[in-house]
Every structure is written in C-alpha cells, then in structure tokens.
Amino acid sequence: MKILKKRDICKLLGAAAKKYIIIAPKEKHGGDILFEETGPIDALPENYVLPYNSLKDFFFPQSEILIPQKNVDGKFLFFGVRPCDANAVKFQDLFFSKEPYDIYYLKKRQNSIIITLTCNTPAKNCFCLLSGSGPYLDEKYDLQFTDLGEEFLVTAGNAKGREFIREFGGYFTGANNAQISEQNTIRNKCKMQMEGTYDMKKIEKKLTEETPAQFWKELGHRCINCGGCEFICPTCFCFNVHDDVSAKSIMRKRSWDSCTFEGYGRMAGGFNPNFAREQRIKRRFYCKLYHSKKWFNMYGCVGCGRCTGVCPVNLEMESFICSLTKGDNYQSLLKEI
C-alpha cells in the first residue's frame, strides 16, 4: 500500500499524461459534473459525488462506427471513478467478452487503466451496498484510492495497477499502519451509514414469487418510454445496428437502444411477445436484479442512483426495490424532484 499526497496529484497526472489521455470528473455549467478528457487536474471538483455520465460513454459510446473499423489511438487513464462505476465496467466486461467477442469494446478496455476512488460518505441517491458493489472494491480492480484527508491511500489490485505504481513510483511513499487503519475506519463508517432496509436476497426471492399483475400494470401505466433509464445506466448494454447509405459510401453504426421500446423486440412480421409496456418493464427489472446474477454472477444494478434523477415519471430502481420489498404498489421515494 502506498501514499500519494493530494498536492502531488497534478504532478502524477502530469507525468502520466505523457503516456495516457487523462479522463477525470470536470465541472461544467451550473454545477454539472461530467467525465471528460481534462489533462492533468489539481483536484477533484468540490463536493464531488458522481459525474452524470459514466465510463460507458468511453468503452461503449452512444453511437459508434463499426465499419469501417477505426484504430484505437492512445491509452486512457480514468481518474476519480467511484466503486459503483468501476463495478459497472466489470459488468460490461463480462457481457462484451462473451462470444462473439466485441473487439470494439475490448480493444478500448485493454488500452485503459481505471483509478477508483472509494466513497467516504454515501450520497443521497446511493444504494451500492444493496447490490454488493461498493463503497469500495475488494478485488479485480487496477488501482484504488481512499481519501484520508491530506493524502490518498493507494492500493493496486492487479498486475496493471502494480505496473503503474512501479512506473510512477517517484510520486508515492509507503503507507504506515495508522494510515491503513484509517482506511478501514473510513470504509466501515461509510458501510454502516448505508446498511439499510433493503436485502438483495429478499428481493431475489420476491422476484421468484408471483408478483401481483396489478403491480406491473401500474408500472406499465406510469412509464412513457423515454429510454432514459437505459441510456443513463452504466451497466446497460443493449444496442441497435444500422447502415448509413449514401451515394458514395456505406457506414455500419451501432447506437444505444432500450429493451423497453416496443420496436426492440418486434419481429419481422410485426408480432411482439412483449407487446404490452408492462411486460417490457417487468423484463427490464428481471434482467437487472435476477437474470444478470444467473448469467454473470453479478447484479446488473450497481446502485449508482443515476436513474433516480433521469426518469420523467419518477420510476426508478431504489423506489422499485423499496416498493417490491414492502409488497405495496409502486410508490416513488421522490428523491430527485
């Protein structure tokens, strides 16, 4: 374990910028924060919680030209990534590395390193503990930083991370026992603040039982098909492929799609086994909270809370889980109004 003084962030990233394109949280207009190519930064934005976009934008962009295939230029360093977002990347890794391998996604992943920043306090919309995805990572990460106040405690989780520390070793010093102990205190404190009423095992059990049809019917009536929850979600991987044909060229592109759109599952003859909106919403929640666990041994929801702020009918994951556990009809917690 190593220590990096906060005042040395800029120097470290400056040195890394010779090899990597730095992507970090940047403050935009009106307090919006987005992951963006920034160059070396001095510090993270004040009161930083989570950018509104996720790393999905970079590895699986909203639209992408597949043919003609482009070379992946450069290596990318992602800084200030919360554990929920890092877990979302892990989840998409599992999907895109299934056969047939998605070379577009995998090439970008190979050329990147992710520096996770654990959370000291949970934010208003967070429920990562629920899906076992935070507030820190135990395994399968490149580098993890914990904020101790004046410095970060740094751990490497794999060979890529260890190689990075070796390469830029001049900026790190060794961590002492007090600092390691401090990290554990911070982690436990954050975890305790999040220990709540939701229990994933209970949710899974609920989903295997017969949920009243009325519950789903009301969700079907509520949703208006804006696609926002899929588009903002860092784990969603559904996409549409089409060709742009002009007099001089053909380009094959893919773009984000949403499994809740009627056309997504519509067959060539017009038939759709999930024609009713409530069926599509039900399928989506099952995908996230039940089937993903079966396919990938990992929940499709990392508890980042972005869907709470994106839905124009107040239909989002945390409220869904709460309502399902209680056994009532859906009620929004109205956290982001």
Partner: protein
C-alpha cells in the same frame, strides 16, 4: 470527447443537454443534471437529438431548379455565389415590378432569436413590407391574442417548475406526457405528492392513467364545458370575490352570458355527464394552488382565441392568477416559437410586441435601422397563401418550415405555391415544400451555431456550437445577411452576441438579456435591465394591462361538423417518438423504428360497424382529399371520433384537414373536420 451545453431543438420545454462530440462529430447526448427546467431528464427525442445531424441526406450545397417548375427534385447544385445572385436578382425584379406587398416571408420557430431578429429586419428594411409570419400561427397564435386581451400579456403566466407544487391542475387539450414529456414530469410529480389532476380530453391519453377526473367532450365543445363549470361556481358562490372585485373588470357582462350554461345544458352539447362537470368545478375552485395547463386541443379551433380567453375567465373567477404554482400555462410547441414571436417575426409587431401601426414605435426602429418602415400590418400565413392563389404575392421565402405538410388542406397549399414566380427555401433536408422551390439553401442545424432559444416559460437560454456547419451548410442568419449584402444592404451585425445586444436595446422585455449573463443563468422575460433577475410569475400585483378582463364568450361549433356523407370527426395531434413533420425524427433510426408510418385510431365499436380489424389498411377521406393508412383499434378514442398524428410525409394527414381559420388569430381548425372511413379494397395483387 467534448461536451457542449445547448438547448434541445425539439419542443418548447427547453431542456438542456450536452452534445458529446468525438473528432468533430456528434456521437451522443447527456442531460444537464442541474438545469432548472429539465433537471437531468430528457425524452427519447432529446436523447437521440445528435443522430439526424450527420444523416447522409443533409443538403450539401445550394440547389437551383433546372427544367420544369414543380417537378420535384429537378435540381442542380450551385455555388453560394450563383445561388445568392440568382435569388437577389429575382427578388429585386419582383419588388420593382409588383411592389413590396408582392413578397412574403415565413420565418422559423426552429431558428434562434438572433436569426429571427435578422429575418424580420430583412423583411422590413430590405423587402419593405410587414409580410412576415411563422408557425406560431399554427399553434399558439390564439394564446398570443387571447391572453393578451385577457391579461395584457400573451405568454404563459408561471414557470414550469412550479407545476410540481400545484395541488390541482386542470389539463385541457394537452397530451402533456407525449408532447411535452418533461412538463409531464411535473404533473406526475404533483400527483405523486398528492395533487389532483382534472383532465379534459376526448382520448385516453397517458395523463388519464393518473388523473383524478377525466372529462371526454366531443372535440370543439370546450367553451360550453368550461362555461358550465363557471356557471356552477357562480351559482354556488365558490368564486374568489375579492380577486374579482380588486383585480378585474367586465365581470357583470360575463355573468350574463354564463347564466344559460348550466351543467345540464352543457351535457347536451359536450356529451360529458353533468355530474363530472360539477365535480370538476368543485375541485378547481376549492383546491389551492390550482393551475391550468393547455395545448393545441384548445388553440387549434376556429374559436381558438375564445377558447383561450375562456380559460382566462375561469382562472380569474377563482383568483388563480399571479400566484405561485397557479396561473394559465400554455405549452408552447416549438423550441423557439416563443422567441420567434418575441423577436417580431409577426406581421403586426416589431420585436417585443411593439405595434407596427404605432408611429412612435416605428420612429424608434427607423432611427435604429435607418430608412423608412411600412406602417401597414402585414399578412398572416393563411392570408399569404390566399394572396398567392390570387396572384398578388409573387415571391415567398420560407425558412425551416414545411408549409405543405404543416398547413391544413395540403393540396390547396400546393396549388397556392404553384402560382409563385419565386419560391426560396432554407432547410437541412429536402422536404415537401423544398421539392417545389426554385432555390434551396442548405442550412446548419442547432448544433452548428451560436444563439438563444426562448422556451414556454419565457426563459431565454443559450444554444451553443458543438461542431462546425457540416458539408458547406450555413446558419440561416448568415445566409440572410449574405443575401441582403448581395442586394446591396447591410443588416448586420453578424455575430449572434452582438445581434442580441442590438435586439435587447430595442426590446424592453429583453432589455437585460446578454450573453455574459446567460453564461451563468437562464433569464425569464420581462427582464428590462441588466440588474433585473428576470420574472418567474406574471401579473402578481396587477395584470400587465392593469386589470384582467372577463370576456363574455358563447359556444361556437366547429366549422365542419359530421354529416351523412362524412360521419366522423377527425382530430389530429402528436406522438412522443416523432416531432411535427418528422424531418429530423424520421432520420433517427430508433424513433423511425418505433413508429414508421401513419395510422388512424378508431374506437372498437366503430371498427366493428365498418368491418375493420386492427392493422387493416383503410382509406380516410374528407372533402379535401383522401389517404390510406393502417387502422389502430383502441378504446382510447371516443365513438364517432378518429385521431391521426401529422408526422408522416407519406400519406400526409393534413391533406384531410380543413383550411378554415379563427377570425382573430387566424389559426387553422386542425382539431375538427368531417371525414369518412372505409376498408381499402383495391390492394394490388402481387
């Protein structure tokens, strides 16, 4: 990856998002989480707004017609120089031969404030006429006229975010969750917090899923319905007596008219049970704060202006104006229809609704712009079309609008256009109107220019350039400046920031608007000076005109009612996945996949009578023409009424609609005409 914050180019909510660009190409969108109106939300059109920008069909060069006039697509690419010179020459010839009243200009509610300011300056200074109008005519001209005469200001009274805190919302003639989804979010949130929604709409729209009360009147009977509500309120002493006494005039004359509109009387006209009318009246008058939200279901009638003033009457009767989370909220359709009106792209006013006929106002603009300005009110779109047919208007300049697809009675519109000696069009893609043009200029999209849009709650917001204009296109404002130069006139400045400075100096309601301020905040007009913070709520201490005015209004039936030959009412409107004439949304793959073609909604009882099954091809026809579409059988529409969206270029719904107009606002009666339906028998065998 770069992110550029801009305002959505679709509807009048004015959501903000960042366009993501990679290597100078737009690749996606992420909402602005902290934006005061959209708060991190977008509808599916906003989420996919990047895609049409790089569609292969984007116009790349100016086009000049060769060969036969009015043969679609008989065009040859031309250089900017050649096309501008040709246009300048023809315009000058026509002006010299026939005079300034022989030309007309249709500006664009899709273009920025700065561009619309330049358009009306061009029309007034270079062409020498006030014949400028735009598609506000087609949607909220009754709002401009109706609220102006009732309250003194023809714009929405409150701010969008306040709706979420309203305890009672009367939603009338608005399919909010499909046409203005992010305003629909406020309705949904209000209900989640315990509010009551009273819905007046002949269809089971999305809002019906969470309203407390749903009244389904026959289209075109809103005055009778609303008057009956007011009759009940007055009869039972439920009105706000203080407010009426201190803040309004014209009350006694209005009361006389209301007397006969008992709920029983209204039930006969509207088909709505009197108990529901009474319930609605009780709820709206008792629960505070109470808002009215309305859309084109109220305005697109031959009595549209009267419909709007009736809503104003109701709001004043219950004292629901000038207070937070109340008021009368018109849901403006286009991204910048409010702004295009504000900037004077109208035949009777300069920027800021300052009358063309007022000598002092005219002198002010003459001093600022130089030269003499016409004092005669110009023509509105429907009058422009009529004058074209009569041969009095020889040249039409259309920016960013497909009049053939959007005006009622499309076939008639085509006949009018064919009489022109010159038709000039700006657009991103070839549309139905552009197919008939003599000159087409390739315009740049919203992502390729700087400027501002003004949304439904009078909020001026920045539009920012994410990429350079594609393929040799130019922003519409730059095209018009170049054209003016070619004709020997300077109508600059050319820089959008400077244009706004000039407009603000001449427009009291925009007086305090500047790009410097807009970097840090959005500003709602009236904003008369640089220190003013903008205005959230209108008519708080007093109305813009002093006192609010009650208007005595009688029920007026629609111009064309069903009869034996055409036994159905046809009503038209929008769906979530497409935007107006779908120039942009039909070129977005997912949106086009969801709804690829036109359809007609028909009630199951009617369908059975006509032996129509779901998905059957049917012919729907009116006195003006017929189209074939797929039938969608649904109980969501009442018996005797058919409903169609107007988005689809193939099988245009507006072939059927009736070109009759409100006498004050001159809006077309899109919501009611008489049609018949039958199964389409003559399908050619393969």
């Amino acid at each position: 990856m770069n992110h550029t914050l801009t305002t959505c180019p679709f509807c009048g909510v004015g959501c903000n998002f960042y366009i993501k660009t990679e290597g100078g190409i737009p690749v996606g969108v992420v909402p602005s989480k902290n934006h005061p109106v959209s708060r991190g939300r977008l509808c599916v059109k906003g989420w996919t707004a990047y895609e049409f920008i790089t569609h292969p069909q984007r116009l790349k060069t100016p086009l000049l017609r060769t060969g036969r006039r009015f043969a679609p697509a008989d065009f040859k690419p031309a250089s900017w120089d050649k096309a501008l010179k040709f246009t300048a020459k023809k315009l000058t010839e026509i002006l010299e031969k026939y005079g300034p009243e022989s030309v007309a200009f249709i500006a664009s509610a899709r273009c920025t404030n700065e561009e619309n300011y330049l358009f009306q300056k061009f029309v007034r200074c270079v062409l020498g006429t006030n014949n400028i109008d735009h598609c506000a005519r087609t949607c909220h001209s009754p709002t401009v006229a109706g609220l102006a005469r009732s309250f003194g200001s023809g714009a929405g009274t409150n701010s969008i975010e306040e709706l979420a805190s309203s305890k009672c919302i009367l939603v009338v003639g608005s399919n909010t969750l499909e046409s203005h989804p992010i305003i629909g979010w406020r309705l949904r949130t209000a209900v989640d917090k315990g509010a009551t929604i009273i819905l007046i709409d002949p269809r089971e729209i999305e809002t019906a899923n969470f309203c407390s009360l749903h009244l389904k009147p026959v289209p075109g009977t809103d005055i009778a319905l609303l008057n009956a509500m007011m009759n009940f309120i007055l009869h039972n002493g439920l009105q706000d007596k203080n407010f009426i006494l201190s803040r309004t005039e014209g009350f006694s004359e209005f009361c006389e008219t209301i007397k006969k509109y008992t709920p029983e009387y209204a039930e006969k006209i509207t088909g709505v049970p009197k108990d529901l009318i009474i319930k609605a009246a009780r709820l709206y008058s008792a629960i505070k704060p109470a808002s009215i939200v309305y859309g084109l279901g109220i305005t697109e009638h031959t009595c549209g202006t009267d419909n709007v003033s009736t809503l104003a009457n109701l709001a004043m009767l219950c004292g629901n104006v000038g207070k937070p989370s109340s008021g009368v909220n018109p849901l403006r359709g286009q991204n910048n229809v409010q702004g295009a009106c504000d900037m004077g792209a109208l035949p009777n006013v300069f920027p800021g609704y300052q009358k063309v006929s007022d000598e002092n106002i005219r002198k002010k603009f003459e001093a600022a712009w130089g030269g003499k300005l016409s004092s005669e009110n110009g023509l509105v779109i429907s009058e422009i079309l009529e004058k074209m047919l009569e041969g009095k208007i020889k040249a039409l300049y259309v920016v960013g609008e497909d009049v053939v697809m959007s005006e009622p009675n499309s076939r008639h519109v085509i006949e009018c256009l064919k009489k022109l000696e010159l038709l000039v069009v700006h657009d991103l893609f070839i549309c139905k109107t552009a197919e008939l043009a003599d000159v087409v200029f390739p315009a740049a999209s919203f992502a390729e220019k700087e400027g501002t849009f003004t949304n439904a709650d009078r909020r001026v917001q920045r539009v920012r350039k994410a990429i350079a204009p594609l393929n040799g296109s130019l922003p519409d404002g730059e095209i018009i400046v170049k054209l003016a130069k070619t004709m020997g006139y300077e109508i600059g400045p050319e820089n959008p920031e400077e244009i706004m400075d000039e407009a603000a100096a001449l427009t009291p309601i925009y007086g305090g608007i500047s790009y410097g301020r807009l970097e840090k905040e959005t500003l709602q007009w009236p904003c008369p000076n640089k220190k003013h913070p903008g205005t959230k709520i209108l008519h708080q201490e007093k109305f813009s005109q002093g006192k609010g005015k009650f208007f005595p209004i009688e029920h007026q039936p629609p111009r064309e009612l069903p009869d034996k030959e055409f036994p159905f009412i046809l009503s038209t409107g929008r769906i979530l996945f497409h935007y107006n004439v779908a120039t942009m949304t039909s070129r977005t793959k997912i949106l086009q996949r969801e709804f690829p073609e036109n359809f007609v909604q028909i009630n199951p009882v009617d369908a059975k009578e006509y032996n129509i099954k779901n998905g059957d091809i049917v012919e729907v026809s009116s006195r003006r023409g017929g189209i074939t579409v797929k039938a969608s059988i649904t109980p969501a529409i009442i018996k005797g009424v058919l409903w169609m969206p107007f988005h689809f270029a193939k099988n245009m719904t507006n072939i059927l609609t009736n070109d009759v107009f409100d006498p004050i606002a001159k809006i077309g009666e899109y919501k009611v005409c008489a049609v018949r339906i039958k199964k389409y028998e003559n399908i050619k065998k393969a």
